[in-house]
Subunit: 357 residues, 2 copies
């Protein structure tokens, strides 16, 4: 809460309304699905409904709790407006619909409707969330290792002729059995020619006797997301396929090696991209090198071409270059990497040399 | 598209911008994750990015397609503003963030920024979606039956001592194997005392030797959601538990019997609520009787106390009363029901008499 208050003061705001649930969880500890949190320079108060009375009492630290019968956000806005010294309250326009804002304004006295609620110019809580503390890093390392164990399990399960759907089902089943709260996104199982689709969700297509299989998946553990990708081969790869895999692997390792606090995101991207460009595969690498991950599967920063923002120690990012040759094949290799002061700590230590099944 | 155009005309709008993906899919057939659709009185155009070139060509009917390199929505807004005769374009404030609206306005010539984009007063496409046509009803009936088969399978799987997580894992695994695209919401597995939580997601708690188990789950089939709940008992129920189950069952059947085109949603709710009130369980029924379902798991109408909107033939709604006695137990029984001209067609024919396992 201290960090938020410092940022509030710097923005000239005397209060902040937080409704985006990952932001709210980050600040208050509350994991329910309906709540609004207000933070002023002096106090913090969480508003939720009667379903969550017990849960809020158990989870919420560093904030008082009020149970309301209408919507939590209008009640929060009214409370903010009644606080002495709160003249302008910020809200995050990226997580507020036009209809919500209209409802909140209706909850205010007429004289405050025009100016009291102010869209913040840049994400405030999300920016804090990018840098993980030790507790968060430990949870994320556990989440990533759970992913690695799942991949190991899948190596014993995969065989030609299985449907992609069956592969996803087995993976998700094992994730549940190992205690995952859920998957952090729709599992990608893309085999044969379908591996050339960067986001090929599992279908009824069957794993080929010969060809690539890309598995891109993540679990949710204690609220935090994991994310990893490995591409394996059924049978013996053709020379072109083997060369392409080797290029992606080199690109991925170059980008991992480039990770360090203070390095620009564009430079990490370029580390991967230049390897693929030199291998004649620059055009086949059609997306960014990676993204931040945490309570949400996609967080800032984006590790893309030309991005000038700099990595900070404690960020967790994915490094996931790939090549996609339409009608032929695709390959992607992805690790989660925690940024440290002088490098990166790979949270997904599963080997990356090409596995031939 | 014809129905949307009639509504556009009635609202005095010459164009509509659609960005909410279920609405967009409903109107155009497009199932990708990034697109904007504009509808004018004369034409319709879908904007998406290069990842979806092939998919859009295959899926989109009754609309032209334009592939753009920036965001689809700003391009759509610019195109709308350039159409002869389009003076005001509507957008849905419930599905547009304050930040998005600001970006869209920036894409417009300065003279149009203030007035060109107009929030629509009531959901326009969502209202059309509530009444399903024959094709949609067939898909939803298939989805509901897939749910019923899953429940049958689970009856052979359930036994005391299993973790709730294992139950969810088996259910979701079987759903995948049967060809479901995914689950329509986080599977609820609430056993023993936890059954008194209306929305108890699966945990590591173990199924009791004696007590209730509530299973509330749904799958996605061809884009449409299913939703059903059954509550079973391990061992022999105590008289109080048996009576409560019987009351919920009677309430559920009374509400199903009340479903018919022209009946108000509040009256359907009251049909269930009065049974539970008469049984002394009125306070234990803490939520609405049901909700619409379709491309989204929660759609209008809401079947709650005092709701005056009326059911229409072709709507699909859930009927799901429950009772929750904190620290003791909970029971919920839920069917999906398609509204017909003179009654309701139960899409989930799984028996509802209390099953003792």
């Amino acid at each position: 809460m201290g960090a938020v208050r410092r940022r509030l003061t710097r923005s000239g705001l005397s209060g902040l309304l937080v409704t985006h649930l990952p932001d709210l969880r980050y600040l208050s500890g509350f994991t329910g699905s309906s709540a609004a949190l207000v933070v002023t320079r002096r106090s913090a108060r969480l508003f939720t409904d009667g379903r969550y009375t017990a849960q809020a009492a158990e989870e919420v630290k560093a904030s008082s709790v009020e149970i309301v019968s209408g919507g939590p956000a209008p009640a929060a806005v009214q409370w903010l407006a009644a606080q002495v010294g709160v003249e302008f309250a910020g809200f995050d326009p990226a997580w507020t619909t036009v209809a919500e804002l209209a409802r909140w304004k209706q909850a205010l006295p007429a004289r405050l409707r025009r100016n009291f609620l102010t869209p913040i110019a840049a994400p405030l809580v999300e920016t804090l969330r990018l840098v993980k503390d030790e507790d968060e890093l430990r949870i994320m390392a556990d989440a990533a290792l759970m992913g690695c164990r799942l991949f190991d399990h899948m190596l014993g399960f995969l065989r030609p002729g299985l449907m992609e759907n069956e592969v996803a089902a087995e993976l998700e089943h094992q994730a549940r059995l190992q205690g995952a709260q859920g998957m952090s996104f729709d599992t990608i199982v893309a085999s044969g020619i379908r591996s050339s689709l960067p986001h090929g969700r599992a279908t009824t297509a069957r794993l080929p006797r010969r060809g690539f299989l890309t598995l891109d998946f993540g679990i949710i553990h204690d609220g935090y997301c994991s994310d990893m990708t490995r591409t394996v081969y059924f049978g013996t790869p053709k020379p072109k396929e083997r060369r392409a895999y080797q290029s992606v692997l080199e690109a991925q390792e170059a980008a991992v090696a480039a990770v360090s606090a203070g390095v620009s995101c564009g430079d990490v991207d370029e580390a991967a991209r230049s390897v693929l460009r030199n291998a004649g595969l620059g055009d086949a690498f059609t997306h960014s090198t990676g993204h931040g991950v945490g309570l949400e599967i996609h967080e800032a920063p984006r590790l893309g071409a030309g991005q000038t923002s700099r990595l900070q120690a404690g960020m967790v990012v994915t490094i996931e270059p790939g090549v996609y040759l339409a009608g032929e094949f695709g390959i992607r290799i992805e690790d989660m990497v925690a940024v440290t002061r002088d490098g990166g700590w790979v949270l997904t230590p599963t080997p990356k040399a090409l596995i031939e099944l």
